[in-house]
Amino acid sequence: MKVDSGRVPPERSFMRKPTTGLLLLSAALVIWQLFSWTGVLPLRKIPSPVQVVSALYMLTFQGLPPEYLLHGHVLASLVRVFGGFFFAAVTAIPLGILMGWNRPLRIVVTPFVEILRPIPPLAWIPIAILWFGIGIKSAAFIIFLGVFFPILLNTVSGVLSADVRLIEAAKVLGAKPPQILLKVLTQGALPSVFTGVRIGLGVGWMTLVAAEFTGVKNGYGLGYLIMIARDIQRADAIVAGMIVIGLVGYSIDGVVKRLERRLLEWM
């Protein structure tokens, strides 16, 4: 099974042309604002872009709760996501390579993976709080669960899709099994691993916000920020928080893509 690395050739992606994307976005914002002004979109249900921008200003310079500034919320969320991601990556990638390499191991582990994988990370929240309490550890655990399986599955399929001729050639040239594992299979699986990393980080970022809804200890986090905004019934601040989450998620994906392109240039 060949898993596509998910890389879109630059010329086919219209988002690569910043002007087109920006134009479309601004047009959408103008229409949104017009709808708000004319009352087609009632302000009680959805704030106008102008309100959202002023809420962003408030979040950035005054903070919510007061003095808890936006960059602190972003930073706290990033720390949680990358904490969970780190543990998921260092466990899922080696396990995935071993599973791809060793058939008996794959047969033994696969049923467990298949049962655990469909459980939404959010269903683990009560257990996570029980095991790790409120705070970074349980949030990181929830994110770990979201990140682990995409990386694992993509790594396994990456190893399995390694070119048989390359393995044969390596054998002919006198390579030992550990060398084949490290040089041929692992490197051959890299594009697929990167796909797993990108999907995993995306899922992790989505999971984070909900994980923070259960409570955080230091008063920071984008999910927590949204909960506070809901507590005081400020839809403009809620939407502003959502937009920040979207932008940060988009940036993370962009960084990973760039990293992938640079690291896999030789392929």
Partner: protein, 321 residues
């Protein structure tokens, strides 16, 4: 032909689903909301269990049971509720920020919250809370207010205490596992912490602010305008239930056990901390409005006018509170 049959079947399914949906929503009935296991709001459960709403000719259906007031106010904003039992602060915040349009039509209770600390934590006074982590059910709502007031009374800056938000059902486990050093919650959670030997009460809310108003009955403004008779009937049932609790404490405890799923001892301790009243306390309401203004949570230029606008007592009958 096949397409026609398919279309007919599809239409049938859609109509059936629509009917089911309509029945599930309890078409025509008053959609009510209240907080999960909140002993302050026992009157709603008493009225449901004793059939007081039906006696007063009001058909009610549960529109939602919520973990905290802000969630319930969001349900009002989305048009999912007609009448609700909720804390005074979330109601003021929602109206002040134009998120939901409701009127306060009756009081549910006075007092009934407490600051609870872990047993053996060594916290003996409010001053000992400095540097500790304290959980409240929501930002800028009743218990958050009570905590800030208690701190202010002891000249402690709010910033010197680490306040975090936890929904009350999660508070006792958090206290036990030392995630937090104290919490402020509505009854029966303080009582439960005491009866399960995990916590002890540092301060009852009646000591922070005597006779402070807490939960109220709110009605969606448009619904109230269109259905004044229904709201009157609803409030008659509410008054009846409130009096029933005042006059039949033992049976009220039994109903409280059923409502909260907690043991009789806990419910009894909890109810001892609550004054069940239905007359609206405007002065106390004004204090909430002013507090929320100074916190910067709502922007209201004329607090007295705001209160005047927010309260509608016309549905409540005369008589002692």
């Amino acid at each position: 032909m096949v397409i026609k049959k398919l279309l007919a079947a599809l239409t049938g399914i859609l109509i059936g689903a629509g009917l089911l949906w309509g029945t599930a929503l309890g078409a025509g009935a008053v959609r009510i909301g209240y907080l999960q296991s909140d002993l302050h709001q026992l009157a709603v459960f008493v009225a449901l269990e004793k059939g007081f709403f039906l006696e007063e000719g009001v058909d009610v259906t549960i529109g939602g049971i919520f973990k905290a007031g802000p969630e319930e106010m969001t349900a009002f904003a989305s048009g999912g509720l007609d009448v609700g039992y909720v804390g005074e602060a979330p109601a003021v915040v929602a109206v002040g920020n134009k998120a939901a349009d409701v009127k306060i039509v009756g009081q549910a209770n006075l007092e009934g919250s407490a600051i609870v600390v872990r047993k053996g934590s060594g916290i003996k006074t409010v001053k000992n809370l400095v540097g500790k982590t304290v959980a409240v059910p929501g930002y800028a709502q009743v218990q958050d207010f009570l905590l800030r007031k208690a701190l202010a009374q002891n000249n402690i800056p709010a910033k010197s205490v680490n306040v975090i938000i936890l929904r009350p059902p999660e508070m006792i486990p958090a206290l036990e596992s030392k995630q937090v050093d104290a919490f402020v919650a509505w009854e029966p959670y303080p009582a439960k912490a005491v009866s399960s030997q995990i916590g002890e009460v540092l301060l009852y809310s009646g000591k922070i602010w005597p006779n402070h108003p807490c939960c109220v009955v709110v009605a969606e403004a448009a619904y109230l305008k269109d259905n004044p008779k229904v709201i009157k009937g609803f409030l008659r049932a509410h008054v009846k239930a409130t009096r029933f609790i005042q006059e039949n404490p033992e049976e009220a405890v039994k109903l409280g056990v059923k409502f909260t799923g907690m043991d009789a001892e806990t419910v009894k301790i909890g109810m001892g901390n609550i004054a069940y009243r239905y007359k609206i306390d405007r002065k106390g309401l004004l204090e909430y409005v002013n507090f929320l203004r100074t916190m910067g949570v709502i922007k209201v230029s004329d607090p007295e006018g705001f209160v005047q606008e927010l309260v509608d007592e016309s549905g409540l009958g005369e008589g002692p509170s």
